[in-house]
């Protein structure tokens, strides 16, 4: 919970000595609340007050970086329970569990497929984040498998082993990659904590029960281990959602520091559909890292798309540059379709025009990221706006016809638009899916 200026004022010496550069302690407190000055500016602040103020300046959920170099990613630092309250900040990592019992060929093949799981949607790159290696065999096999991972993927790694000696060996050969260790539990936290501390590695803390989890993280903090991820183990779906919700609430509503870390959810489902649906629930409800086993591109694409949706900033719809775009080998007779500069509208139209294999121009009008109907209602996608855009985008110089295709949903502007722009208006389909058939008929 953020402290107000007045709350902070109560912690200051109240002498108005001006050493901080402000006329009064209150003025200084107000700036501290806005986080525009550093506490150190006041030389007279008590150590207790200082530690309270420092703690409240930290994020409620710690930001944890996993991996190293280019493929590293951040999770945590979340500030809200619902995305409409502001936004979700750091997209949940999506990782894959591989077991060391697979043959070398199988591991290589699986990694090759996982490395290829890259997609582009709505102008953004979607990719997977991590590979977790689980130990089922002996220490020497585990080390061989770690080497296979090191040689065959650049993705961040997670080492899952109950055998501390094997884990240490694995850490020694993979420390450059900053692997995430799994997991500290009641019976081993001191030893695995020491390992995490020695090599400066992040560590998963695991306990079925939230209070037990809090005690373990306190112990680990006491040992100087602070890069933590929380896990309450594998549970029925609704119980897991409850845990993840509770952990987020503890951090945000109770400022419970011991539980102010990102969370992990492991999906145990053999059916790829159930696996994707469960992973989706955890992404929507607060997991910082989700581990699955399936690697089919259709399954992973659906999960990554959901993550993209959930982590889109509700205040800032994705926009593209409003201008004239050409698709394929266009010529002076190519059709011109008009849409908004809301990314989703543009990319949906683009996808369908590409699918039609008919070269065309797409004119994206500046609607400040609003979709077709919303922009029409706000008068940003009306006859005036489209006419203005037609005048300035340079389309008249590249085509020799005067036909313009508008979205079916704004058929009502045809008359006005025709009068104002001088273009002949053709009403296109309401749904983008109808574009290929429409363009073919037009040809």
């Amino acid at each position: 919970m953020a402290l107000s200026g007045l709350d902070i004022y109560k912690l200051l010496p109240k002498t108005n000595c001006r050493q901080c550069g402000f006329a009064t302690c209150l003025a200084f407190a107000m700036q501290l609340a806005k986080k525009t000055v550093a506490i150190e500016k006041c030389p007279f602040i008590s150590p207790e007050a200082k530690s309270i103020l420092e703690a409240q300046a930290l994020p409620a959920i710690k930001l944890i970086t996993l991996g190293s170099q280019e493929s590293k990613f951040d999770i945590g630092n979340e500030t809200v329970m619902f995305r409409h309250e502001e936004k979700f900040r750091n997209p949940a990592g999506v990782g894959f569990i591989i077991e060391d019992g697979l043959s070398d060929t199988e591991i290589r093949e699986r990694l090759r497929k996982i490395n290829q799981l890259k997609f582009e949607r709505v102008g953004q790159q979607l990719s997977v984040n991590l590979v977790a290696l689980k130990q089922n065999k002996d220490a020497s096999r585990y080390l061989e498998a770690v080497k296979l991972l090191l040689d065959n993927t650049t993705l961040p790694m997670m080492l899952m082993s109950k055998d501390l000696a094997a884990l240490k060996q694995a850490v020694i050969i993979s420390q450059e990659r900053k692997p995430l260790l799994y997991s500290a539990q009641q019976e081993n936290f001191a030893q695995i904590g020491a390992l995490a501390k020695e090599f400066q590695l992040p560590l998963v803390v695991m306990a079925q029960d939230i209070d037990q989890l809090r005690r373990l993280t306190k112990e680990l903090n006491g040992l100087g281990v602070n890069e933590l991820i929380l896990d309450t183990g594998i549970k029925p779906l609704a119980d897991k959602i409850w845990d993840l919700t509770q952990l987020r609430r503890q951090a945000l509503k109770r400022s419970n520091r011991a539980l102010g870390y990102p969370t992990l959810a492991i999906v145990e489902q053999t059916d790829p559909y159930l696996e994707a649906m469960e992973a989706g629930a955890y992404i929507a409800k607060y997991a910082g890292l989700v581990l699955i086993k399936g690697w089919s591109s259709w399954e992973v694409l659906s999960i990554l798309t959901l993550r993209q949706n959930i982590y889109t900033d509700p205040q800032k719809p994705l926009q593209i540059d409003p201008k004239l775009y050409s698709v394929g080998q266009v010529n002076r007779d190519s059709p011109v379709l008009v849409t908004t500069n809301f990314s989703l509208s543009y990319y949906t139209v683009l996808g369908e025009v590409e699918a039609s294999k008919i070269p065309a121009y797409i004119l994206s009008v500046d609607t400040q990221g609003m979709s077709v109907l919303t922009a029409w209602a706000a008068e940003k996608f009306n006859a005036e706006a489209i006419t203005k855009s037609l005048e300035t985008c340079g389309v008249k110089e590249v085509i020799r016809h005067k036909d313009l295709i508008i979205p079916g949903y704004v058929a009502m502007i045809s008359g006005d638009l025709q009068d104002q722009s001088g273009f002949r208006i053709i009403v296109g389909p309401k749904e983008a899916a109808g574009i290929p058939a429409f363009l073919k008929k037009l040809n």
Partner: protein, 313 residues
């Protein structure tokens, strides 16, 4: 010190809507479906009552579908060309608990079926299957104002759910639904204020809030899903905080949106997972009724719902 759980108790409760009427209630359905009634956020069973599971209704049309991709058509085989056989297949083979029939054939561009023919079709359908019905117009406002009253009358006493009423076209439908003992779907364009306003307008005409279901209008996974997701979360939070005018269950047209996507036409697996994940994500934001198209997607989502509600009832 023990960790104190953060528990949220809500003063509000989502209204309970029953679809279908058995003989003793003046209808002829073999079963009824009840939705709503929760006073907790979705799936947080420890905080309040969640008395009813989300329910899947299979979408069928009164004509053979025109623009459905092959991946979808092939799941039904020949039956899809005969709406009554299609309906029976959904119930007998895919165990549909209720059906959502879209009267697409009444649309001026899709056969322009007359109100009499539409009513006849509904009567036939009611005699063929014994599950409750959701009846949807073709989306042509003027035509819907003619055919939906006819369908409503043909199904009098069967407690159907009929839609969709929209802000500038609701009066005719409300009057029919009131007269024939049905419930109504109130559709708003991803807008919480319009949803609220429309519920008020409809209840002002005398239809109680217990007979309204909100269609918040959704986008599929990757096609604006997050807008509806957040509108639903906001509306549900308002309802639980005590706003009765937003305390209606939600209906989401999952199949219709998911099968419009380009991904759904890539492969049958991609299509099924697209529909299934759209469905479960919206369960997470509070939907009560899911209108779905692919039997396998419906089956997967049913499994998911079973998992969620295991030992929770």
């Amino acid at each position: 010190m023990e960790t104190q759980l953060v528990l949220e108790k809500w003063p509000g409760v989502v209204s309970t809507v029953v679809i279908g009427a058995k003989k003793e209630a003046g209808g002829s359905r073999g079963n009824t479906v009840t939705i709503g009634g929760q006073n907790s956020l979705p799936l947080l069973f420890k905080e309040g009552a969640i008395p009813h599971k989300p329910i899947i209704a299979f979408e069928i049309w009164d004509i053979a579908p025109q623009d459905w991709p092959d991946e979808l058509i092939s799941a039904y085989g020949k039956a899809i060309n005969d709406p009554l056989a299609w309906a029976e297949k959904c119930v007998n083979e895919f165990k549909a608990e209720l059906l959502c029939v879209k009267m697409q054939g009444t649309h001026p561009d899709f056969g322009n079926k007359s109100p009499e023919k539409a009513a006849k079709f509904i009567s036939l359908l009611l005699s063929k299957v014994r599950v409750p019905l959701i009846i949807i117009g073709s989306g042509d406002d003027a035509k819907d104002n003619l055919i939906l009253p006819a369908c409503s009358e043909a199904a009098r006493g069967e407690r159907c759910l009929i839609g969709c009423a929209v802000q500038d076209n609701y009066k005719t439908l409300v009057a029919s639904v009131l007269a024939d003992g049905h419930s109504i779907i109130a559709e708003s364009p991803i807008d919480i204020n319009i949803a609220k306003q429309l519920n008020i307008l409809i209840s002002d005409m005398g239809l109680s809030l217990e007979r309204i279901v909100i269609n918040p209008t959704i986008g599929a996974l990757g096609y604006g899903l997050e807008y509806a997701y957040s509108i639903m979360e906001r509306a549900r939070l308002a309802a639980l905080s005590g706003d009765k005018t937003l305390a209606s269950p939600f209906i989401c047209f999952i199949g219709q949106e998911a099968w419009k996507s380009k991904e759904a036409r890539v492969s049958v697996e991609q299509g099924i997972i697209w529909e299934a994940l759209t469905a479960t994500s919206l369960i997470q934001s509070g939907t009560d009724l899911l209108i779905m198209r692919h039997p396998q997607a419906a089956q997967k989502v049913n499994n998911y719902i079973e998992n969620l509600f295991k030992d929770k009832e």
